[in-house]
């Protein structure tokens, strides 16, 4: 019959475990900064977390390259805040900015990451007020501006006659200038609407009514507000279109405008309405490469730096702008061709500022001045400097956790874990007695390993422990303890069948090992899938859960089983009373007596 099978040598397994623990803790103490503390998430230590989701125009997934580029740019920007320990992590199509510490509010403004373009202002901007009485001077001004709106017009003489919006020859953003009330009756639908695609009702769009579905709304906005004819029509019609247009309260086009088409839009405060020329000429070659009369060909990526400062020639603030690459060259050609015209800085389809071009600006650096407050100037400089992301983003989640709240969360998590552990300990002791002690020991050792791995992962792959992660650990106490339960119940089965504790151990082990492996495999599968697919905090939860499952196997194989084997060999320790198996022994004996009696009864008949 069965030999005393599976004579494992417990010392070997335990030794391997000790080796692992020693190795882990030497890594903890002798590499990195040697501090044995895991990296805490901002919900445990306080700080700000902003999740930016890439806006996907046309429902396309942004490319990895664009996302990585955006990540780098935002990281530069975060570091510009001057806080330490800030981090930008890519999570699928999201960028998660984490800034620890109390002084981290600035991170939220980083959410205003956008696509930046330079577009020439066509015609005159109109105030977004409800139909104003037409002023007598209006037709004249808009008429004289007309030639500049035709792309075929040679750059030069005619442009010079166009009115500037500032009287003193000082360049200023249009919004600071006197509004040109060149408003024709706003109720008449502009001619442009007729040339749009028939299925889109541009009247609705111009009234600020868009479809519910984002894709449809974007398509509508593009069809009506990016009509290619906007730059070829005469000034009167353009002005009419402008007049009929209402600034939408929530613009679906935001960041989704096509740079090679004209754009009808408003400024960020919805105070003025603009018709803007395309950034880039059409690709069909109809426009010569050196024709900068309409096309700036400049986007935020051409900007090297932007700094705000005080105006050396007087009061007020200015923004100094430097281009990089052939950006300076383009800017020079564009400004030469459009002196006295306005150029709009367009951020996410909205006009941030629309300064006048006073003179050709060559040499790659330029100065924007106007009636800025210091804050305005700083804001504009930041927009210019950092608005050069290849994608536009939307802040999906922004959270600031105070250090006190973080601390109390951490405490609550630890207390919850402590209570959970204590309850499990108590139950195991009551139910399994000596084996319960082994369970507790194994759980504690498992905790020791988990902690070391946590610290190391924080150091190596930047794994941060957050509240969800703590919850994952607490939940995994159950999974870890369950492996022992499976083993011990098997042990009981074997003892019940009449085996001694000692001979039951290898048999129970072989059988429960299979169960533990398959059950842990399912559990691990669940957390792995969650981890791969999920976003945000969920990832932390899945990660800790999966990690504990793996470490659970290590502990069961290297600690629990050898210890039980050792106990089973010791005479005093393996007494039924201590091991908690007495009941099973008794039950097994009863069963056999019963069935023996029955069999005897059957025979008698």
């Amino acid at each position: 019959m069965a030999p005393p099978a599976g004579q494992i040598r417990p010392a070997k397994y335990l030794g391997a475990f000790v080796l692992i623990v020693v190795a882990l803790y030497s890594l903890v103490f002798f590499t990195g900064n040697g501090k044995a503390t895991p990296k805490l998430g901002i919900d445990l230590q306080g700080g700000t977390r902003v999740t930016l989701t890439a806006r996907a125009p046309d429902g396309q997934t942004p490319t990895d390259q664009a996302l990585d580029q955006a990540r780098d740019l935002i990281e530069t920007r975060v570091n510009g805040l001057g806080v330490s320990g800030a981090e930008v992590v890519r999570d699928g199509t999201n960028l998660v900015i984490t800034v620890p510490g109390a002084d981290s509010e600035g991170a939220k403004r980083l959410g205003q990451t956008a696509k930046l373009n330079f577009r020439k202002v066509v015609g005159s901007p109109q105030p977004n007020a409800q139909p104003a009485p037409p002023s007598s001077s209006a037709p004249a001004t808009s008429g004289s501006a007309a030639p500049t709106t035709t792309p075929s017009a040679p750059a030069g003489s005619e442009n010079a006659t166009a009115p500037t919006t500032t009287a003193q020859g000082r360049p200023a953003p249009a919004l600071e200038g006197q509004p040109e009330t060149s408003t024709p009756p706003a109720s008449t639908p502009p001619a442009t609407t007729t040339s749009a695609k028939p299925e889109v009702d541009c009247r609705k769009v111009f009234r600020g009514e868009y479809s519910e579905k984002p894709e449809d709304a974007i398509a509508e906005s593009r069809a009506c507000r990016q009509d290619p004819s906007l730059t070829t029509l005469d000034a009167q019609t353009v002005a009419q279109a402008l007049g009929a247009f209402t600034c939408p309260t929530k613009d679906p086009l935001l960041g989704n405008d096509d740079p090679s088409l004209p754009l009808l839009t408003c400024d960020q405060k919805n105070e003025f309405k603009y018709v803007l020329a395309p950034v880039n000429p059409p690709k069909d070659g109809s426009v010569k490469d050196d024709d900068f009369s309409l096309y700036s060909r400049l986007s935020g990526e051409d900007i090297k730096d932007a700094v705000s400062g005080t105006d050396p020639q007087g009061a007020g603030f200015i923004v100094n702008l430097t281009f990089e690459g052939d950006g300076g060259d383009k800017w020079g050609k564009f400004t030469s061709a459009n002196v006295s015209q306005q150029v709009a800085v367009v951020l996410d389809s909205q006009v941030v500022s629309a300064p006048n071009i006073n003179e050709p600006i060559l040499g790659g650096s330029t100065q924007i001045s106007g009636k800025f407050t210091q804050k305005d100037a700083e804001g504009l400089a930041n927009v210019l400097k950092y608005g050069s992301l290849p994608l536009s983003f939307e802040a999906s989640e922004a959270e600031t956790v105070s250090a006190t709240l973080g601390l109390s969360s951490l405490q609550a998590g630890l207390i919850a874990g402590g209570i959970g552990l204590a309850l499990v300990f108590l139950y195991c002791l009551l139910y399994y007695r000596l084996l319960g002690m082994l369970t507790i020991l194994s759980l504690v050792l498992s905790g020791v390993v988990v902690y070391a791995v946590l610290v190391l992962l924080g150091r190596w792959i930047g794994f941060t422990l957050d509240l969800a992660g703590i919850a994952g650990f607490i939940v995994s106490i159950g999974i870890t303890a369950d492996s022992f339960v499976v083993f011990f119940e098997r042990l009981k089965d074997e003892v019940r069948e009449g085996r001694t504790f000692r001979s039951a151990v290898p048999r129970a082990w072989v059988r429960s090992r299979r169960t533990i492996l398959s059950a842990d495999a399912v559990s691990f599968l669940a957390s792995a899938i969650l981890w791969i697919i999920a976003v945000g905090q969920v990832k932390g939860f899945a990660f800790t859960l999966g990690m504990s499952t793996v470490l659970d196997l290590v502990v069961v194989f290297l600690v629990t089983h050898p210890l039980v084997a050792m106990v089973s060999k010791s005479k005093s320790l393996s007494s039924p009373k201590l091991s908690g198996l007495g009941g099973a022994v008794q039950a097994g004996a009863d069963e056999r007596a019963l069935s023996a009696a029955k069999r005897a009864a059957v025979k008698e008949v």
Binding site: S408, V424, V522, G536, K598
Partner: protein, 392 residues
Amino acid sequence: MAQSKGSVFHRLYVGTGAFDIVGKRKRWYVLFGLILLVCTASMIFKGFNAGIDFTGGTRVQLPAVSASGPISTDAAKESFTKALGEEPTAVQSVGTGASATLQIRSETLDAAKVATLKTALNNDLQPTGGLDTISDSAVSASWGDAITTKALIALGVFFLAVAIFLALYFEWQMAVAALVAVVHDVVITAGIYSLVGFEVSPATVIGLLTILGFSLYDTVVVFDKVKENTRGILGLTRRTYGEAANLAVNQTLMRSINTSLIALLPVLGLLVIGVGLLGVGTLKDLALVQLTGMAIGALSSIYIATPVAVDLKMRDPRYRAQAARVQARRDNLARKATGEPATGGDVVESTDDEALQAELRKEKALTAAAGVPSRTGKAADARRRPTGKKHR
């Protein structure tokens, strides 16, 4: 059944197959079918109480204690209205004692407004700890949807992966039965959420997903025993497949109860602390969903998974034929020994002894091959107990 089986607890502890769970499966189907119906109806007609992550908005959180005593929700509301000129959506006080907090929810506010609001709240209410203790979070409405979509994708992938794994490890009938049980768990847990009206947050959705792992874990353990008990059953006439499965369920019953208790205890701690100390948040959301899910998951592995597996298995003519043979043998026995039931008196034992022996031998060979032969110390052992069995 023999009367000498003893108390319910004893029968549970010993696991002799005394509870006829598989045999009375119709009853469970009807019972859980009804519960499922109620849950589905609640989800359809009552819906869920969507949290801030699904509706979008800003939540500001501050300590509910100031130097001059507790801060009332009305005072917070007033301060909010004064600062921004609009009403907050809701103000509530959560948690107890020193860690009590006030939570103010409103429409989504931009960063500047949040800063204004924080300053105003600090000036008006003067919470202990000052401005730095005020937390805020803003969530766009699409964020919750993004998480839910991902969760649903995860659910799909998970089901597929698990089905493949189980079908390979066990058999397709068991894979199907396990999935039925898991779907049942998810629907009931979600239904309970809808019925009770707990707020649904992304953490809840995630908690729901982890239940899957748990529920399956339980099911795998039970099925492992079923597999063991039914190995080679086609060649035997002692038990039908259903009876062997029932025995397996009974044998693992105590384990299932233990496991569930052990798993639930920490979650219970999590819930008590999550609600008691912090009021609301990730901890509470996760704990709540896990608590319900785990309890249901343990039940379903016993009452749904195994019976469904048996039903599927019994569609196979070979198993039906075997069941008929068992019946024939029993009838035969009954004719011989009038009135003596053949079932019930069996000693609990597994039928895969040969497989186990083979594995143990392999194990031993491996241990022997891996290490230095160490007979010396073991000689006494071998002498004392040559067979290793029937020692008592």
